[in-house]
Point group: D2
Chain length 297, copies 4
């Protein structure tokens, strides 16, 4: 299969590599020539523009930082829609707001193209290993059409419903995630001050009703879970600024549908405080540092 | 073994029954004569006072609504300490603040008695089935001493550390629980308004990083988890007023050790609002009703 | 002086009337023909488009619901910039985000026009009475240039600094306002439940360190301040949905400069809850109803 | 008039001095002998116990750190109630919870003494200058009886209603105060980042609907109000730990009457964070430092 791939950042580059490994032919485009060269060395074809990358392909994949980039790559004289053939699906794996997804789908429809939102979870590790989860928004037919391509890059390909629901799923999951992590940080810090051994407390929560991914897999208290970022100085993992971006998408989406999100809005301020204090690149579980002011956490 | 049991409410009564079933002889005391009669019918001996219940036994168990009751039952002319022999452990399974636990332990020490905090999780269902989890605070020796008695009433008997740490474990776990439930309620309500099928959203969260007991076992959105209280009108389960009590214990404990609990304090206000609006007896997952103002939730 | 005025809503119509009363000649434009007719009856000239309204005038004033309208009125073949002469200032009295103000100023600059942000406070009452406060963003020269026109519509014309700072002043003031009102609502409701006469409590706060406009002028508890909206069923006044819009601008602006706003974000959720429950058109002091669940409040 | 005065701390000492200055004879008691000596040097009589201080006087005044001290000073063999004559009023000017006030009133009633809550505002400056505000809870007759004594120490003597309402007034006022100060801190920090001159912003808020004591008298941004603690490094003023104590009383009282206090609970966490970070003795307006992470604030 011939695929156009646009956006070769920390996530996009390994995803495109996995398409090549699966035997697909891939046209690549990125503003960064070095990123392009790496893919070309691996067998991809460099394209001069999104338009060129989208020409004569059976599928287009985009992986970009934010909504503005997606809109820009899609439209204009050099954009994807200027080169793509009718009937070819456009899969956008960026994490953006559901409203932009719908706007993009409306831009693509007159050209005869489905615009499919397929944001991922699994991080750079999952992108490299090809074990990402894709949350796909689009009709049942389009979902069947794009499943094969996505399977070359991920392990779980979940159909969430119509256009935009992939983003909704991602945003809502990360809303829960941002809240539970800060909640676990509060409870672990409180327990420590009240004199319980954090490992014991972690063990109890993880076998009880407080059980959650933020406690049993990514526990923010150093040493409770050996493989968690907290145990290696909050390096690696899911960056605070990315969590902040996703909570921003969640509260914006909530505003747009007039829905209160009390804990989400408060969690957003906590991660914002971290970021303002210079911890934006640490794993988001470092939010526990807002609660612990002594020791080595 | 001969055991004194004080407090035969919704939790205490089935717990005492399980002691009888395990073959122990049980002296029971409660202010409610009907509750006493039920246990006597099952083979227990009625006592005229906490003092009498605690006389000539090898272990005393108390299961009471709040700290004031525990203090009252312990001291005074008719209290446990007036009747109990030296060396007999007092196990308190009430959920109360760690400071009261320490005060009670100091009251009991001069009489030669260990006061062990052993609050439970598992609800009335777990109490009836004998599958409760006990979180035990006390020395390693005392823990070994009380383990057999607790095993007749529960499945998991966890040693949390010194006196008071059982309560700390319970409070911290329920702090996480109260926060995650409200967080899941926000995300499920937001997802619904943004147009995703709640069952699909539930499925994604439960296999992703938002995974938690509040989503995969007690999901607050009706119909997502068939066995959850939300699916039967929020009846049964863990009452909102009990969650409110536990969050009150958590924020009070946080205040006492000068520890901020941002999300915990906010979650407390949400459950308080529910309770003020008359929903105190519904399962705490009904907190989702603060977010959904239409439909049948 | 000859002035073009665009936007004849609840605020714009009385403002344009005051310009006429002050002896100015006014070209008016609005999509609503009835609103235009009222002004024509009072001596204004109807214009067929923003372009026409801006042709051959010495000043243009716009008063529109949101940022999108301001952008639309400014540009395009029928827009203000298509008709306006070089050197004529454009005063925008809408409440919009500072980023849009800067974008509009950049659109106007090549045409030789200053774009001045001049949002107001004082409500429809102040608009009718000509007692509005204008918060003006622009250079000192432009401020001198527009002062006379604004003086016909308001009492306080405050120079806030460069382009955009008028909106910043308005947003920050209303951020304080939204927080203090909800804070006073909490304190008055709490005092009532604790048994103090609300009028007595109001009197104490208003002569003490809790003193604020939300307590001494717009007290949310019915009957404390006779002239407040709370005393007339929360009718009139400053609508909840308008407060919600302004808090949305504040939290968006905060996000754009990476600044936490804990109380602002929480207050936004409270007003959002009111609005979702159908109280969006009541005065924003009706937020007290979230705290009082009985009686006639 | 002969008065017994118990509690000679930062507030009590200058208050007792003002009673002496007004010509009253004063028995004083404090655990700190140096504090007693200073008052004796000024003409007071040292007492060996609260009982002695309360013997043969026409009025007793207590000014103590917390509820536990008030209870302790009142009862016991050496307590006020052991020495005081029937009909003599006990004025407690400590800031404590309304429930303790009622408990103390019930202790005093059988002895024939009215227990009057009369907490103050005005700080150590007002205590020295004799310009305190007293918020008095008690019957109209008792209020008339104690007014003269209080007038020697304060300027405003406000009758708030029955026993306990003085504390309610103080707690509710300080709840508003704690919220507005943090709200002003958010708005001033946001305005600064968005590029408006803080002095200009302060001026606009102070003449607009955001107007409040926290902005126009104690503005947290350095340099906006010359006489505010912010302008002298947050020294003097009303300590963060005192604000934290009062917000603790407010949220506890709210819990006791089942009343939500969203913003109050959040503000409490903010001041708690400050205190945990070592800023407990700074004026509470230093809460702005949680929002500004650069510069000299």
């Amino acid at each position: 299969m011939k695929i156009g791939f646009i956006g070769l950042g920390n996530m996009g580059a390994p995803m495109a590599l996995n398409l090549l490994k699966a035997g697909h032919a891939v046209n690549v485009f990125d503003l960064n020539p070095q990123a392009v060269q790496t893919l070309v060395d691996a067998g991809a074809t460099a394209s001069a523009s999104p338009k060129t990358a989208a020409t004569d392909v059976e599928c287009v994949v985009t992986m970009l930082p934010a909504a503005a980039h997606v809109r820009a790559v899609l439209s204009g004289d050099d954009g994807v829609l200027a080169g793509i053939a009718r009937g070819v699906p456009i899969i956008d794996s960026s994490t953006i707001d559901p409203a932009t997804v719908k706007a993009c789908a409306e831009l693509a429809a007159p050209h005869g193209n489905a615009f499919v939102d397929a944001p991922v979870s699994g991080g750079t590790g999952g992108a490299a290993a090809g074990t990402l989860t894709f949350m796909v928004g689009g009709s049942a037919e389009v979902y069947e059409q794009v499943k094969t391509v996505l399977s070359a890059m991920g392990k779980n390909i979940v159909h969430c419903g119509d256009t935009g629901t992939g983003q909704v799923a991602k945003i809502c999951n990360n809303l829960v995630l941002g809240i539970t992590m800060a909640g676990v940080a509060e409870a672990m810090s409180l327990g420590e001050k009240l004199g319980i051994d954090p490992k014991v407390l972690g063990g109890i929560i993880n076998t009880s009703t407080g059980r959650c991914w933020s406690a049993d897999t990514y526990n923010p208290f150093p040493g409770v879970i050996e493989t968690a970022p907290s145990t290696r100085g909050y390096s690696g993992g899911f960056g605070t600024d990315l969590m902040l971006k996703d909570l921003g998408l969640a509260t914006d989406a909530a505003k747009s549908v007039r829905q209160p999100v009390y804990l989400g809005a408060l969690a957003q301020q906590l991660y914002q405080t971290m970021s303002t204090q210079g911890a934006g690149r640490l794993d988001f579980s470092a939010v526990i540092r807002l609660y612990r002011h002594d020791g080595d956490a």
